[in-house]
């Protein structure tokens, strides 16, 4: 049998395979992992969200493990867009994988300016608009209502010709409505889900475990809910969906693809097993050979109900 075709399209962007690294879990450039895995095998690296100006991040403790998951409250610690372009992009420029830069802002203008700056940078293949960070004041506001999400997406759309991916929050009444609004506002794809807002308490001190009191829950604990959200959204939108939420192995990734995702993001699994994404790519390929599936695209949304 010929080698299965794992290529997927996200707007104008073609990925060599559907396995990408989730923002915030793979550093600002992936350089931290260069000695551990072959970065060139990845479908894409989605960088840690950047903001216009540097952000210090939230007070520690910033993470804690919970049953089959973890809470984090990093707070988008980053050195700002200019320093990202100067210090981090040169490493990314040498890689043979897609580079998707995640942006976050406090107001619509922030997003527009970030997108405009990145639009001029050749090595940036696409922009992921993070309107769903639960750890920043106002970070979730834009993804709560279809109207406010649309305003951000429109502003970014006007500022760049690069493919735009909008990352959605699951902390909303109906995520598919937000996805639809993002689609109408011109996004090329939606990625879902970001983390679920949660908390943990130390019963001895009666204090929150996280310095920020609340944080974002990720990992296998959220997978069934994330999967359901991807499935529901896929029935409503036409743009490609990138599925995220507790993907630990190729079986998890395939569930998201069958539910309607064109690609997936691997996040928490990178911490558990740095080779997870590489193993997932191999696992999907083997599955396709076994089932005689030639193109991964045939699997997207093939759920039988």
């Amino acid at each position: 049998m010929v080698k299965p075709d794992l290529k997927v399209r996200i707007g104008a962007l073609e990925l060599k395979n559907p396995v990408t690294m989730a923002s915030g879990t793979f550093g600002s450039s992936g350089e931290e992992y260069k000695g551990l895995i072959d970065l060139n095998k990845l479908g894409a690296i989605i960088t840690k969200s950047i903001t216009l100006k540097a952000r210090e991040g939230n007070p520690p403790p910033r993470l804690v493990e919970t049953p089959s998951g973890m809470l984090n409250s990093i707070g988008i610690q980053n050195d700002g867009v200019d320093s990202f372009i100067k210090d981090k992009l040169p490493f990314l420029a040498k890689l043979r994988t897609a580079v998707i830069v995640s942006i976050a802002g406090h107001c619509v203008e922030d997003y527009a300016r970030l997108a405009a700056k990145l639009d001029k940078v050749k090595r940036v293949d696409a922009i992921e608009v993070n309107i769903s960070c639960p750890n920043v004041e106002g970070g979730l506001e834009f993804s709560k209502e279809p109207g406010s999400a649309a305003v951000v997406v429109e502003a970014v759309r006007k500022s760049t010709g690069k493919p735009v991916i909008t990352k959605l929050s699951p902390n909303v009444k109906d995520i598919s409505e937000i996805a639809l609004a993002a689609q109408e506002a011109g996004t090329d794809a939606v990625s879902l889900v970001n983390t679920f807002t949660g908390m943990a308490i130390d019963i001895d001190s009666r204090m929150p475990v996280l310095g920020n009191i609340v944080g974002g829950l990720s990992g296998p604990a959220i997978k069934p809910v994330a999967l359901r959200m991807v499935w529901e959204t896929s029935k409503k939108v036409k743009v490609p969906i990138i599925g995220i939420g507790g993907i630990m192995d190729y079986k998890d990734a395939l569930e998201f693809i069958i539910a309607g995702a064109s690609a997936v993001q691997v996040g928490t699994a990178n911490f558990v097993n740095p080779s997870a994404a590489i193993e997932i790519i191999g696992g999907i390929e083997k599955y396709m050979r076994g089932k005689k599936i030639r193109k991964i695209k045939e699997l997207t949304g093939c759920l039988k109900t």
Binding site: K48, G57, R62, M70, P220, T268, F271
Partner: protein, 257 residues
């Protein structure tokens, strides 16, 4: 830094609730320096989920030891592993203890399970025979006192402090440090510490008062271990630093308490 399969050579309880695991893993063992750490995936399930960090307790050729206290799900899972089992190792991570450049006198201050990485440090420092090393071990009680025989076996002066006085002096390790520095003059040692936060803070206080160079190994919850997730930040005078990548060893004068 490598992710590699290690083979467990032995895993036995050395004191109630404390285990010593020997692991053969050449790529990690050969590169490891005292003060660096490794992470272990404690099973294949999603619970415990994250890898657990451990200091290198002793480093010897192709193998190393991990001395651990059974504290939660991760370490409990480790206790059930047997000689011959394979284990998923990521390491060596972080930076080791800096060398005591030119300084002859060394004081090592350990608290509880914090003694673990200090054994490797002592063995490394002893390679220079001119060095004068003292070790102070603090523990809750006699039952949780670790490594005393090990240090004494190396010919190192070893002092003990316990919270309940069941072994050594009834005081904190930092009190013994203070006394040692007050009695021996002139005495300008480099201090290395690992233990609970309040102990390191007390050591930092003594070092500052006497103008001594002091390093401490710090702990935080660790997710990635390689500086990618920014989860293990601690506050220093030059902003947030990552325990996994910038540490785990920090110069104590840099810390904010």
């Amino acid at each position: 830094m490598k992710q590699a399969k290690g083979r467990i050579l032995s895993n036995k309880e050395v004191k109630p609730g404390y285990y010593l695991m020997a692991i053969k893993c050449p790529p990690v063992a050969r590169a490891a320096k005292p003060g660096q750490f490794l992470t272990i995936r404690c099973g294949n399930a999603t619970e415990p989920l994250l890898r657990r960090p451990f200091g290198f307790h002793r480093i010897s050729g192709d193998a190393f030891y991990v001395l651990y206290k059974v504290l939660g799900k991760g370490t409990r899972a480790l206790t059930s592993m047997r000689a011959g089992d394979n284990i998923d190792i990521l390491g060596p991570l972080g930076n080791g203890f800096p060398e005591p450049k030119g300084k002859k006198d060394i004081v090592i201050v350990a608290g509880g399970i914090g003694v673990a990485p200090l054994a490797a440090l002592a063995e490394e420092l002893l390679k220079d025979r001119k060095r004068d090393i003292s070790v102070i071990i603090g523990a809750r009680d006699r039952k949780s006192l670790l490594c005393r025989e090990h240090f004494e076996g190396l010919g190192i002066k070893t002092m003990v402090a316990t919270d309940d006085g069941s072994c050594g002096k009834k005081c904190f390790a930092s009190d013994v440090l203070e006394e040692l520095i007050a009695v021996r003059r002139p005495f300008i040692p480099v201090i290395y510490a690992c233990g609970p936060g309040p102990m390191i803070k007390a050591v930092a206080h003594v070092a500052k008062k006497r103008g001594l160079e002091a390093y401490g190994s710090f702990e935080e919850y660790i997710a990635c271990g390689v500086g990618a997730c920014l989860g293990c930040a601690i506050k220093t005078k030059s902003g947030y630093k990552l325990v996994c990548k910038d540490g785990p060893v920090f110069n104590l004068k840099e810390m904010i308490w």
